[in-house]
């Protein structure tokens, strides 16, 4: 029989997280700090709006690019929160099945075979495989702890070649918690403009920053025209299971993305879209409350790390800490595996997010304070043992 599989897909490595997941999920009594989604349930008024839409029989397709009302609200929200103004919601916004779909079809709409896509790592697991599936050549930029895992103009400049088409900008960052401040963005915007490349800015964690408001690269002069801004409802409104995100950008790019979306997906889930309108309109307080809770936990973990002498830069975004475990002379995977087996706490090895994550762990603080408290007792005990050479 002929080989039924496509070589391009077979060659893609399965997500590094998957392997660890299989082991961790067998330990039912373990505490997990390995979760990349909010521990809060979706605020009730948003859920209620979803239920209400079902009661009213809104169970049909929407237009391909999403409900007009939702796209209008997305633009209002972005203008209100970030001061980014999209003139035509119906041409510059596409509602997708999570931010993930936007990443996938964004690549597919923008790159030709052989085009280079710059992917700073450590970062979300999807960029590289999606770029490969789109036929691009992914070029990894290894971010450094000494820069607090921000992307510098110099690192960008060095990675650019004649074939560079697109830069992925994943901030606030999963897994490091790193952010890019206005001055950082201004420096890289200069390089981007000089070399005439495009940006896919994944700002799914934009609401979760702890030292001031998130700045989008699309706010900078000349950048909106060359940026696909990706955002969604999962992190800000604790709506991961609703699978809803969006992409905003120049009409010419969005038009092509809509084409792929239309043939592959048809439209994002209708119930989720109605709930999302409510989320955008009436959730400022919910978001602020969740953000405050995350910030308290972030301070708690940072303090716990300092107490046990575990090296970690202070992250100002998302809900992750990225401590360094190089002093223990183990790989991230070995450390995470032993910690899981000996202390029953699941964390994710930094290498799941790129080779340069070696020597680091991703610890999620989307978990209750009680869990964090107990986990830190166990972590302290564990590294105490390691330091004593046991």
């Amino acid at each position: 029989m002929r080989n039924p599989l496509a070589d391009k897909i077979v060659e893609i490595k399965p997500s590094g997280i998957r392997k660890f997941f299989d082991i961790a999920s067998e330990m039912k009594d373990a505490i997990s700090l390995g979760v990349g989604e909010p521990d809060f349930d979706t605020p009730w008024h948003i859920r209620d709006e979803g239920i209400y839409s079902l009661e009213k029989g809104r169970t049909h397709y929407t237009s391909n690019a999403g409900l007009n009302e939702l796209r209008v609200e997305i633009c209002r929200y972005l203008e209100r929160k970030q001061g980014i103004r999209y003139e035509d919601p119906l041409k510059e916004v596409l509602v997708t099945v999570g931010g993930s779909e936007a990443i996938d079809i964004g690549f597919r709409a923008m790159v030709n075979p052989g085009d280079e896509v710059l992917i700073p790592q450590p970062s979300f697991v999807s960029y590289e495989p999606c770029a490969v599936m789109a036929g691009a050549k992914p070029v990894i930029i290894s971010l450094k702890a000494e820069n607090e895992f921000r992307l510098t103009a110099r690192e960008l400049e060095e990675a650019i070649t004649e074939k560079t088409k697109l830069l992925v900008l994943p901030f606030p960052n999963n897994p490091t918690g790193a952010i890019m401040e206005r001055k950082d963005l201004e420096e890289i915007a200069e390089v981007i403009l000089k070399h005439d490349i495009y940006v896919m800015s994944d700002e799914i964690y934009a609401e979760l920053t702890y030292n001031g408001k998130h700045v989008s690269i699309a706010q900078l002069p000349g950048m909106k025209e060359r940026t696909i801004l990706i955002n969604g409802f999962s992190k800000a409104f604790a709506m991961t299971g609703w699978r809803l995100g969006y992409a905003c950008g120049p009409a010419a790019i969005i038009e092509q993305m809509v084409k792929i979306h239309q043939f592959a997906i048809m439209c994002a889930p209708t119930t989720s879209q109605y709930a999302a309108i409510e989320a955008l309109k009436n959730s400022d307080e919910d978001v602020a409350e969740m953000c405050t809770a995350y910030n308290q936990r972030r301070r708690f973990l940072l303090h716990a790390f300092r107490e046990m002498g575990l090296e970690c830069f202070e992250p100002y975004g998302a809900f992750y800490m990225f401590p360094c475990i190089k002093e223990f002379g183990m790989t991230s995977e070995e450390f995470a595996m032993r910690f899981l087996k000996e202390e029953k706490v699941a964390v994710v090895p930094g290498t799941a997010f790129g080779d340069c994550g070696e020597g680091y762990l991703r610890i999620s603080y989307a978990s209750s304070l009680e869990n964090l408290r107990e986990s830190m007792v166990r972590l302290s005990r564990f590294i105490g043992r390691l330091r004593e050479g046991r």
Partner: protein, 175 residues
Amino acid sequence: MFHIDKQREVVEVSGMREELLKVIEKNSRIDLGELAVLLGVEEAEAANELAALEAEGVICAYHTLVDWEKTSNEKVTALIEVRVTPQRGQGFDSIAERIYRYPEVKSVYLISGGYDLMVILEGKSLRDVSSFVSDKLSTLESVLSTATHFILKKYKDYGTVLGWKKEDEREMITP
């Protein structure tokens, strides 16, 4: 001497003070050191703020929410609507004070609408509650009428759903 301030002073709370109040409103047993860490301040500063808020009367007491229904200790709780005649120069304050002095009275609120005071009463038995209403409450001079509602089951109190613990149903590891 019990006395309600006629004009309560408004205490400004925002920023860290507000955050502190929200944290201890949910968990008054929190360790002071941990409270300071959560708020991102020094322990001494957190202690000072707490002391100040207590002195200003913003923090009134530190209670525990007990689900007595889960215990062998039987209690009866009643909501009593009370219509009263307000008194010249005193308004509702003096009659409210007469009522809240009884230790079995847990709460007294001045209410808008069809009646004036909402009294929450806790007793050992139905008879306990009814004798309070007939002997003590109804006989007060300015009380015009009462309507007693017994609480059959408490589902949620002070923002906490009773007898229910949220399970984490998320996957163990997600990207």
